[in-house]
């Protein structure tokens, strides 16, 4: 009961602190504090709600991809590059339409996951066999992914008449994933891919907490040395974790691809991998926590978008809020954690003194 209360109070405290700090910044800059908050905290309209869910879906997948690595002490900065090569691959495969309808979709998704996995796997293998820090290798692989995709995109690109954007072939309608309506108006529908994202979240939770493999992965993350002694093969786990992380990263761009843009082009959303790091950290690698983090970030992004038009304040302020939230959340969780540990130790100590009291009685 107290635990639940603590668990809830921590994020609330963090949000309040973050809002206070942002307000200070706004006030210092002479911007209208109340107007900003009344816009950001207003209840979103149906279509904005749809946008929030859509963006959260994408961010969620990215967060989960990062979280898988974190669970094993691997810092996958490379989700950015992984989702890019994967989304491009999926777009090409789906655009070519070698298979009919949803078979085509399925093939594209599988290819995306495979390519994402391979791209991340390079870092995994380098770490496992050559001891190269995945932090460096994934940074490098991000840049390499950009160059390779740019090159290949130019090779396969089609350009619509009169457009300056280039992209892959459009995916035919029968292979697109239908959106789910949440209202009747225009734009009031969310990606059908949201279902897949939920499934991914569930699978993440299930595999990690309920399976032997997940146990091994978490054990390795907690203590490499203890994991080795227990019979876990670290090199294999490292590669496996990176492969899985990369496979999920491969899904990141797909909601957009199959639900909105239907092609990969130069305006395809970028930077999702880095957002995923913040969201995984915010959600403390927990499937529900990451979902909350993704929704929160998507909410702030969506609600701040019209700030400039309606209130005349640069929406960049929200980036400050987001960063501050990441910090305040961990600080308040840390405070709560210390408190929890103390509670636990008290319980241990109580049990201990109780035992001793009993022991004393026997010889006496």
């Amino acid at each position: 009961m107290t635990k639940l209360l603590l668990a809830v109070s921590a994020p609330v405290l963090a949000l309040v602190a973050a809002f206070a700090i942002t307000s200070l910044v706004l006030a210092a800059a002479g911007d209208p504090v109340m107007d900003v908050w009344s816009q950001i905290l207003s209840w979103p309209e149906r279509r904005n709600l749809a946008n929030i869910i859509d963006n959260a879906t994408v961010l969620y997948l990215s967060g989960i991809a990062v979280a898988i690595g974190f669970r094993m002490n691997l810092f996958n900065i490379g989700v950015d590059g992984q989702y890019r090569v994967a989304a491009f691959t999926a777009a090409v495969v789906a655009g070519e339409a070698w298979l009919p309808g949803y078979l085509n979709t399925a093939l594209a998704i599988v290819c995306a996951m495979a390519v994402g996995a391979v791209w991340a796997g390079i870092a995994g293998v380098l770490r496992a066999t050559r001891g190269v820090s995945e932090v460096i290798s994934t940074i490098m692989l991000n840049a390499i992914a950009t160059a390779v995709v740019a090159y290949l995109l130019r090779k396969v690109a089609v350009r619509a008449e009169g457009s300056n954007a280039i992209g892959t072939k459009k995916i035919q309608e029968s292979s697109q994933i239908p959106n789910i309506g949440i209202g009747d108006g225009p734009g009031q529908e969310v990606y059908g891919f949201v279902v897949i994202a939920v499934l991914v979240g569930f699978a993440y939770w299930f595999v990690l907490n309920k399976t032997r493999f997940g146990f091994d992965l978490r054990a390795t993350g907690r203590s490499t040395t203890a994991a080795v002694a227990s019979g876990i093969r670290i090199t294999r786990m490292t590669v496996a974790a990176m492969l899985i992380s990369g496979a999920v990263a491969g899904l990141v761009g797909l909601p957009i691809l199959f639900g909105e843009s239907f092609q990969y082009g130069s305006t395809f959303q970028s930077g999702l991998g880095f957002a995923g790091i913040a969201i995984a950290l915010l959600g403390r690698n927990h499937p529900i926590g990451v979902a909350v983090g993704a929704l929160l970030f998507a909410f702030l992004d969506e609600q701040s978008n019209p700030l400039q038009i309606l209130v005349g304040v640069s929406p960049d302020i929200v980036a400050i809020t987001q960063g501050v939230i990441v910090l305040t959340v961990v600080i308040s969780y840390e405070i709560v954690r210390r408190y929890g540990v103390r509670l636990e130790q008290q319980a241990v100590a109580r049990a201990l003194t109780h035992d001793r009291a009993q022991r004393e009685e026997v010889p006496a």
Partner: protein, 514 residues
């Protein structure tokens, strides 16, 4: 000697006077109304159970933690110690229970750290270290990396650190736990030297015979309070133990042999090449039968850890053969070896035995991820694992509120009991036990010994590695001595003395053909 010391102690003035020291941690009273006088030029021992509050008291005297109540007087001056810096200034030096050394720095750097004002960090400091090392016979090379040093040398570096700062009061928290008898003797020689120079030594140990032989005065602490201060000639080890815990001093003793003819583990010509330099293991050959305990004695760092890890399959590149119940182990992974019936109590429970931030029931699964009752197919069976953890908790007397507590919250002794219980589960045929009772108090120690003996009676083979020679002699059916990666002697525990073992371990004694 004891009498001489006694005479000195009587005349020595009090350098440290602790009065009414109290310290509470959340839910625990670590120290409560502690009163101790330490005299100049004496060795003052402090004994007590695990968790009695000895280390806490010493940390208070060294300024690491502030006391909640009570006063500290040093040389008749009342002092308030806010940090170790204050304590050092007051002339106190401390060698901690767990070494406080930075592995990747040189001895010189470790020694001068924090005391750069004295002799700088260069040549002058080096000369001073050399001087101290020579005059106390510590034999320390200031320019070696600490990670290259063995345990004994590290201990001496710790002492050198204290001397370098010109400490008048030297605290040694369990300095002998990891030393072989010869090293202990050397250490005690050093302590006598310090004593002669007029220093006061505060010395903590669980080994009561040591305490009796070296101390001038002994203070017993129980549950955070000083019970009594005695002199060595007033008490026997047994009486001391009773003062500590109110129960008898247990000692391992071999009962009737249960060794059978059935060969269980056969190690032939085992070698482990090193990337550079001398091989870590060389031509190791031995057999263990059902119901037999084979003890391995050796100074730490002579290949024990490597031997264990090679048998467990945690190291690659080994040569020679290892057969368990006629099955060749070499192609098997660590997990397959564990599944084949090897139980493993690792030397360093924090590094190799536990997930400190996971609950006990998850720690129950660790190392047994593929076996009943923890898993069903590829899935973890949390309910069954918890239930089995409860069983271990009650059978092995693990003091904890329940199986959902984090392993970190348990004291070392209780962590160890959990590990022993876990490794005895699943009916192992071979138990590899490395220092199974290190740092564990007398009560828990006896319980662990009993468990090992019981299992042996039922046919378990045990490979026992220990730095505690009494434990080795008491439990083993045969003792092999390991030196520089080779087995250099085989002893019958009923015939051998700790001193004989000690000289074989250091390469000083006559080798006995295996």
């Amino acid at each position: 000697m004891a009498e001489g010391a006694q005479a000195e102690a009587a005349t020595g003035s009090v350098t440290v006077r602790l009065r009414g020291i109290g310290k509470r941690f959340p839910g625990v009273i670590a120290n409560d109304d502690i009163n101790i006088d330490v005299r100049r030029g004496t060795i003052h021992a402090i004994v007590g159970e695990n968790g009695a509050g000895k280390s806490t008291l010493m940390k208070i005297l060294y300024g690491v933690q502030p006391p909640d109540s009570g006063t500290i007087e040093i040389n008749d001056q009342q002092v308030t110690l806010h940090s170790p810096a204050d304590a050092i200034k007051a002339g106190v030096g401390m060698v901690f229970q767990h070494f406080m050394l930075a592995d990747n720095l040189t001895v010189l750097e470790n020694v001068v750290l924090g005391a750069e004002r004295l002799h700088g960090i260069g040549g002058e400091a080096r000369a001073e270290i050399q001087r101290i090392s020579d005059s106390y016979g510590l034999g320390i090379d200031p320019d070696r990396l600490v990670e290259e040093l063995g345990v004994g040398a590290r201990q001496r570096v710790e002492i050198l650190k204290v001397l370098y700062r010109g400490a008048q009061i030297v605290i040694l928290d369990e300095p002998t736990a990891v030393l072989v008898p010869q090293e202990v003797d050397e250490l005690f020689g050093n302590l006598q030297e310090l004593k002669r120079e007029g220093l006061s030594v505060i010395f903590i140990s669980h080994k009561l015979d040591e305490v009796l032989s070296v101390a001038d005065e002994i203070t017993v602490i129980r549950r955070g309070t000083t019970v009594r201060t005695v002199t060595p000639h007033e008490v026997t080890a047994r009486q001391l133990a009773e003062l500590m815990v109110g129960s008898e001093l247990p000692s391992p003793s071999t009962e009737t042999s249960t060794v059978t003819d059935e060969l269980l583990l056969s190690v032939q010509g085992l070698g482990l090449p090193a990337p550079e330099g001398r091989p870590l293991l060389q031509d190791i050959t031995f057999d263990i039968h059902r119901g037999e305990v084979l003890g391995i004695a050796g100074v730490e760092g002579n290949g024990q850890a490597e031997l264990v890890e090679t048998i467990m399959g945690m190291r690659t590149g080994a040569t020679g053969t290892i057969r368990l119940q006629d099955r060749d182990l070499s192609p098997l992974s660590t997990r397959e070896r564990r599944e084949g019936g090897i139980g493993y109590i690792p030397e360093d429970r924090h590094r190799h035995g536990l997930l400190l931030d996971a609950p006990l029931w998850e720690n129950r699964i660790l190392g047994h991820q593929t076996r009943e009752p923890n898993v069903r197919g590829p899935l973890i069976d949390k309910g069954a694992a918890r239930a089995d953890t409860e069983r271990i908790i009650s059978e092995y007397d693990v003091r904890t509120p329940g199986p959902d507590v984090l392993a970190r919250a348990l004291s070392g002794g209780n962590q160890q009991k959990l590990i022993v219980g876990r490794e005895m589960s699943g009916d192992p045929v071979l138990l590899i036990a490395a220092h199974p009772t290190r740092g564990v108090d007398v009560g828990a120690q006896a319980a662990i010994w009993d468990h090992i003996k019981n299992a042996r009676r039922q046919g378990l083979a045990v490979l026992l590695i220990s730095a505690d020679l009494d434990e080795l002699i008491g439990l083993s059916d045969r003792i092999e001595v390991i030196l520089r990666g080779r087995l250099v002697g085989s002893f019958d525990p009923s015939q051998v003395t700790p001193e004989q073992l000690g000289s074989a371990m250091t390469g000083a004694g006559p080798e006995v053909a295996a």
